[in-house]
Amino acid sequence: MKYLKFLVIGIIFGIVMFKSEAASWFRIYEMFRFQSFHMYGIIGSAVSLGILGTWLIKKFKLKSIDGAPIQFTPKARSFSRYMFGGILFGLGWALAGSCPGPIYTLIGAGYLPILVTFLGALLGTYIYGLLRDKLPH
């Protein structure tokens, strides 16, 4: 039962990704052509509310449902890994037209060729594990 809440959260996420069209290759292309506000509206409103909520959680020292204090771990300082990793990710995001969340959504929606992208993402993750010590971080 402790996993049921994660299943429900995942289902909500999958529905939102599909219905908001954030899982559409066309929307990603349109975003990188700056020809619509749609994706910027989605990301911008999500981040604005995210900043507000995160600030409130810190200000009122809110606890999670199991009673533990909610802590936010700062991300490790670096430039190269975020910039180089980010650029490679962005190339893939625009080419396949999906990021990891929408890949799963599209598998469920029945667009089976996205399974090739999913296998590629697993392979890419494995290659990173292999090469990690040789990359600038």
Binding site: K5, G50, A68, G86
Partner: protein, 185 residues
């Protein structure tokens, strides 16, 4: 209730993504949709060959349950919560895509050229989907997160590393669409 069957506008989708972020935070976890790929590699035995994957994946099972939910959510949305799924992209985007050979622009959810079942027998489509996936998987781990972990979670917590990563995402996306797409399509 007809609005449910219509595409959801950004001011519904964006706030609901923030809702998912906070549901996970209050469940004691963090929002990130790419670390599950690492968990799957570990389950597949990658830890025997590569130390990076030698961790106890049992603690990450919740992550795979979220993934299962995202698959089910996609199924429900496409089959029960949608009327016409054609994405109403900007007219100038349709024109450009048609000139690149995407006949389905403005008439489908995804381009048929890449995502219809026939794509399985098209070597170019397969290469695009595979290389895109490799870049997504490799880039997400190298950058330590993807659109959810950096662009939503990280920016919400005002993390400079996440801002650098998001700038990187856009540099990569702009290079692909403006410089490489004319060579590919």
């Amino acid at each position: 209730m007809d609005w449910i069957l219509e595409p959801w506008p950004w001011y519904v989708g964006g706030p609901m993504i923030a809702g998912v972020l906070f549901l996970l935070i209050f469940a004691g976890k963090r929002f990130g949709m790419s670390s599950n790929l690492e968990t799957m590699c570990a389950i597949g035995g990658a830890g025997k060959r590569v130390d990076y994957f030698a961790f106890d994946w049992r603690a990450k099972r919740w992550n795979l349950v979220v993934v299962a939910g995202a698959v089910i959510g996609g199924f429900l949305a496409a089959n029960f919560l949608s009327g016409d799924t054609a994405v109403d992209i900007a007219p100038e985007t349709v024109t450009t895509l048609e000139s690149m050979g995407f006949e389905s622009a403005g008439e489908a959810y995804l381009p048929n050229e890449l995502f219809a079942t026939e794509a399985f027998t098209d070597p170019k489509a397969l290469a695009i989907l595979l290389i895109g996936g490799i870049l997504i998987g490799f880039g997400a781990r190298y950058a330590g997160g993807c659109t959810s972990g950096h662009a939503i979670s990280g920016l919400s917590n005002l993390q400079l590393p996440s801002l650098i990563a998001v700038v990187g995402f856009f540099i990569g996306g702009l290079i692909m669409v403006h410089l490489l797409f004319p060579l590919i399509f």
